[in-house]
């Protein structure tokens, strides 16, 4: 089902202009070409700026590339990435699961939500980092604390977004399901859950970002391993070319995760028509 594109697109020019203008026009119509061109432009800009400042301020792209290869070959970057991914994944998956289930339940059992909402909101409002000394006191210095920190980072945005979605379930569709004989469990499964799916995905998008921040901050401050620690180490020793290697890993991870969420959105919400494509 492809959606018709809206009249937001610029109308095509009646007569194709020649030379550079026509090349630009052609690129303007191709998303892939635009992505590649903007990437090249970014690298060129980086190179130009780095040639005019000290390498301590901004290393050249080539230096960063060399450092990235060296850190990969030595195994340091690979090990750090693995040490980062698994506690991140466990914390995020748990946060997503608990946040989604609790959000759905609180969305339909409103009296329970009225009791619990203040606690949840306080939990969400306290800056994550404020929990850290407490978690270290409770769970020690180790991966358990790290996972719990990632979990806390992910669970609140997921829970609040899903709860908001579940309680906005269309009352008319709920009544239709009731008229057909549906009980609370069937209504949850057939109406509330599917109508909350866009919110579940939106919550996931926020939770992923929060969990990424959580894992890096956690590694920096709790366990002194992984990508987070590489930031700290190469930052403090002013080895900026090497400092960029974990940055690239995080950037790639963030892009891949966002792609994953986009895929989930299309796969699980095929009925949604989109106004802008």
């Amino acid at each position: 089902m492809s959606q018709s594109s809206l009249p937001l697109e610029r109308a095509k020019p009646a007569k194709a202009p020649g030379g550079a203008a026509s090349l630009l026009a052609m690129v303007g119509r191709s998303t892939a070409a635009m992505v590649v061109l903007s990437g090249i432009g970014f690298l060129v800009l980086w190179q130009v700026v780095s040639m005019n400042v000290s390498p301590v301020i901004l290393p050249a792209p080539a230096a960063v590339f060399t450092a990235f290869i060296a850190l990969t070959l030595s195994g340091e970057l690979v090990y750090a990435t693995l040490a980062t991914i698994w506690p991140f994944a466990i914390g995020l998956v748990l946060g997503f699961a608990v946040g989604t289930v609790m959000g759905l339940l609180l969305g339909i059992f409103r009296p329970a939500a009225r009791v619990l909402d203040p606690y949840i909101f306080v939990g969400w409002s306290i800056p994550n980092i404020a929990w850290l000394p407490l978690f270290i006191a409770w769970f020690g210095v180790g991966n358990l604390t790290l996972i719990i920190f990632v979990f806390i980072s992910a669970v609140f945005p997921q829970l609040l977004t899903v709860e908001a979605g579940a309680k906005e379930a269309d009352s008319f569709l709920v009544e239709v399901a009731r008229s057909l004989g549906g009980n609370k469990r069937e209504i949850l499964y057939n109406v509330v859950l599917p109508s909350s799916l866009p919110y579940i995905i939106a919550g996931l998008r926020i939770a992923v970002g929060r969990a990424l921040v959580g894992i890096i901050v956690g590694q920096l401050l709790i366990v002194a391993t992984g990508i987070g620690y590489m930031f700290q180490f190469y930052g403090e020793t002013l080895s900026l070319a090497k400092y960029f290697a974990p940055l690239i890993v995080i950037a790639v991870l963030a892009i891949l995760l966002n792609r994953g969420v986009n895929w989930a959105e299309r796969a699980f919400i095929p009925w949604k028509t989109r106004a802008f494509t």
């Binding site: 008319f172 569709l173 008229s179 004989g181 549906g182 599917p194 799916l197 009925w271």
Partner: protein, 258 residues
């Protein structure tokens, strides 16, 4: 037996100002087995309230009673199906799954038997939607969507069919076509129908009896027996002198309530 009885049914709501607003009062009516009964009235006369109570979605005030085959109605009944003006298809379910939902919630069982799958296919064929099983509701026109709504109700093989202005949101041509289709379908299934509309033409054309309501608080003002022969065909039936006579009486009656 599949008879629906209303005895002294009344429904009041608390208004925002705090006083009692009576939507429907003193409503006593027997919808006989296998008959097509339509309730018409000005907007705000409690028609939809009446149908929601009949569907078991809303309890009547103390003192009144709704009985299904003599038994007091205690909630939505698997013997009934309701068709809504807003249709209420689940946007996330395919046409097939939307119709299946009618069965699944009736039997409280998510898994469909082979016989049930066949019945869904047959019902979709009945409303002329074979081939659209895998479509989503938003890909269908309004008239086709209401056919799905009808299929979801009929697949339950209801003894009583409740219809709340089902064609109210459709254009005039589609509405006429669906009225004819409804009569054809009803000729086969012969369930008891309680139909709500504000369209006098539609009421007389479809029904055995037309119940005219007063303005709020809605009370029964007049009951007309429609003696037009069946099967009826849209413009032929509407051209009969009896149709014009009933329409005149109904209009005189309802005009005072507007």
């Amino acid at each position: 037996m599949r008879e629906l009885d209303f005895v002294n049914v009344r429904k009041s709501y608390a208004s925002p100002a705090g006083d009692l607003l009576v939507a429907l009062d003193d409503f006593t009516l027997t919808v006989d087995s296998g008959r097509f009964v339509t309730v018409v009235g000005p907007s705000g006369c409690g028609k939809t309230t009446l149908l929601r109570m009949a569907a078991g979605l809303l309890p009547p005030d103390e003192g009144g009673a709704i009985r299904l085959d003599g038994e007091p109605l205690a909630g939505p009944s698997p013997k009934m199906s309701m068709v809504f003006q807003g249709i209420g298809l689940m946007p996330w379910k395919s046409i097939f799954d939307n119709v299946a939902l009618g069965l699944q919630l009736q039997a409280h069982r998510a898994k469909l038997t082979a016989e049930e799958r066949e019945r869904i296919a047959a019902t979709l064929a009945l409303v002329g939607l074979t081939g659209f099983e895998r479509y989503y509701p938003h890909q269908l026109s309004g008239g086709m969507q209401q056919r799905v709504g009808l299929a979801r109700a009929l697949v339950r093989q209801p003894e009583i069919l409740l219809m709340d202005e089902p064609f109210g949101a459709l254009d005039a041509q589609t509405r006429t076509v669906l009225q004819d289709e409804l009569l054809t379908l009803w000729g086969r299934i012969k369930s008891t129908v309680l139909f709500i509309t504000h369209d006098l033409d539609e009421a007389i054309y479809l029904s055995d009896r037309v119940v005219i309501m007063s303005r709020r608080p809605g009370r029964i003002k007049q009951v007309l027996e429609v003696k037009l022969t069946r099967p009826r065909f849209s413009y032929d039936a509407r051209a009969e002198p009896e149709f014009a006579r009933l329409r005149h009486i109904a209009w005189q009656s309802i005009k005072e309530e507007l």
